[in-house]
Amino acid sequence: MASKLKIKVNGLVHSVTASLDTPLLYVLHNELHLHGPRFGCGLAQCGACSVLLDGKEIRSCVTPVAAVSGKAITTLEGLPALWAKERGTTASSPALHPLQQAWIDVQVPHCGYCQNGMMIQAADLLSTTKNPTEDQIRTAMNGHLCRCGTYPRILTAIKQAAAVMAKGGK
């Protein structure tokens, strides 16, 4: 049965109608029309659907929408504002999170379909590990699959973003 729910996404509270067991992904995509989190497997195996839940990466394809009530969801679209908040800036938000900028600078994506989860997972990693080693990056990213073969450039981009973020975005 469909229920009326409130969920907080990228700083805004939205009223949505969905059965309580509906995976969060379908609510984000079909109700809120967010295109960052994407369906890949529906089995929490690939990570294309990842979002941050109170700052930690989760798989929205297997997380019931009822389970996120009262918590803050950040999607790929919300990364720039998250970065602004982390820096404590209240001025105009940066256009891009340093990870997104690094993804452009390094020319990471091919088709780009999986890259949502890659950036979300990297944002989780860098929020707790400011200057990760290559091994730490490889371990943190190991649950995300890319078919195009972009892993080497993702590694480079995360290192670049970490360096930028360590300097406060300068």
């Binding site: 195996q45 690939c46 994506p109 780009g112 379909y113 649950g143 699959l145 078919r147 450039r153």
Partner: protein
Amino acid sequence: MTGLLHERQLSRKTFLKGGGALIVGLSLTGAARAFDDPKAASPSHIGGVAGPPDPSQIDTWIAIHADNTASIYTGRVNLGQGTPNGLLMIAGEELDMDLGQLTFVEADSNVTPDTGNTVGSSSITSAGPRVRAGAASAKQVLLGLASAQLGVPVSSLTVRSGVVTGGGRTVTYAQLIGDKVFNAQLTASTLNPGQGVAKPPAKYTLVGTSPPRIDIPDKVTGRFVYAHNIRVPGMLHGRIIRPRGQGAYGTAATLLSVDASSIRNIPNVQIVRRGDFLAVAAPREYDAIQAASQLKVRWKDNPVLPGDGNIVSQLRAQDRAGRMVNTTTVTGNVDAALASAAKVISASFTVDYQMHGPIGPPVAVAIVEPDSAVVITNTQGVYRLRDQYLAPLLRMDSKKIRIQYVEGASAFGHCETDDAACAAAVISQELGGTPVRLQFMRWDDHGWDNYGPTHLSDVRAGIDGKGNIVAYDNSVYVMANTHAQETTHELVGLGSLQNSQLAGGAGPTPTTYNIPNRRAVGKSVPLNGGGYLKVAPLRLPSSPHSFPAEQMIDELAHAAGMDPVAFRLQNLTNQRSIDALTTVAQIAGWKPKVAASQLSDERIVTGRGVALSGTSAAVADVQVDRKTGKILAKHMFGVYDVGLAISPGLVENQMVGAITQTVSRALHEGVRYTKSGVTSTDWVTYPIMRFKEHPSLTNVVIQRLDQLPTGAGEPLVACIPAALANAFFDATGVRIRQVPMTAGRVRAALAEAGVTA
């Protein structure tokens, strides 16, 4: 980019039936990105009639707009390889316009020219010369107009960023022809660099540079609209229902019973059936997913596949029974050359079925009314989908069907995308024209892919006493592609392809080397009814032939007591092959030695291998755990000579993808199946390489301004599996002749050779 259809308030009737107003309707509803932007509508063919437009007309290829920008129509699509950058650079170079002034118009069967399917790394090779001809011809018209306007001869004019200067005055392309038609013909249907009115490479300012890809900013922010994100008003969500994992080709799936009452608890679900084609549709996506998973269905079991590990004996048995159709090509006298050779090596090699496996599954949106249809998906060919697949399936005139391309997840070949388009169209047609968005579930895609074919070859090759290759004898079982039609055709009752339609053709011998005596026997496999899976091209379909070939070359080098690089150089004459090989040896710091001449007794051992294919070369550094059998690719070196590299940066990024993906295929990937069907239905049962294991890379692009540009997506794939296997041999002294080189197979190969850790 503006919003999606549902965000606009236009009726579906307008969307489909606008007639003369069709373009307006589409523009307002934003069904296709081509029509979101008025610039994307060429003045000569505004989308109201079925294509393809006349390729001899300049207006088919290019439209200059009033703001001095241009739309470029190429007919090719971005499958993640960055093709828009490459083709726009070719056009911009001839027009003397900047990349930022150009818009790439996505493929649309009512708008874009038919330049063939986006397959085989052919966009630069075969569409490129046509785009170049269109742009160079347009430039001639523009210069003529400018000459008249400025009163100076064409030879006195210069152009920069679409602004023509002459006699101290300037005029823009927009002022000359903005939003008007050229109404003129191409000077030639194709032009290579420097040919006819096309610029010579020496004058290039844009081609040969590496500007950032135009699609990446939207892809990292969530603004990018994938095919998966397309919605139309009143749309239902569809899901197909098939057995979890396909059975043998030609038997598809036979439906015994459907219990509609089993999903009575799910609201608003409709069951769609046509023959053995079964699907559900519902307004809410999760309802459709649950209905598809809970609907009680009985399928007929047809256990005629050989099952894991038995394909080789099945192929051999069918060969002995005379079921293969052999095609033989011969050069010289192979038997005599092998009889007199100093050394002869014989070996058999296998490659398992492998999967396309796009991270985002196939998806399509279809609206099929009695007299017209629109299908939106990320097909590799809008005209093929329209003419070959949908017209016969829907029993509708091709000209009444419109296909619009929107990018999806990369699949590297003919995956199930066109089948999803067919399935969505059937559901919409059965529901009387209700728009349907059909997305495959992960198990639908894994289980019903058109796999890259499994491979078995038997090779004999010989050398003389000086290390010259004297003969190469290759006997290979060839599987023809089954994708002349899709599974949906078979399920609705249109039948499957017969073996007479599935001729496999000849096998290859390695053409990179000087080998005077060659024989290639292609054994065409009877796919229909023979106990095989359906197959279609997967990135570099010829790559299973390179795995045996480049290992045999290595084995011959070892038999000759020679360094693998030196042996190859001795047997080469093509200078570009020699350059590729010597360059990869140089960047890898290759130290000449006989392979496997410095073996270690440690549990963890390392080795290095090389492979060459045409003008691509690779060196692999591997680490092998002799106890677990695990092979790790630690570092890969790649060299690419694709002729004139339109954008070396794009080429280098294709090397990154080609190497990383092929290491995954070589070490990890094989489709598993029982006698009844495929059991690789997700990423656990079909593992691919993960982040922890990816090799670091060193890549070099050789730029050849004096050579024709060729495709960059695939050739290097040929080198990777053999380079890894050759490195494994160097590390262990043991040959591994199976792909994927899984830990279990490595342990078995080591045990068979008596090697213990």
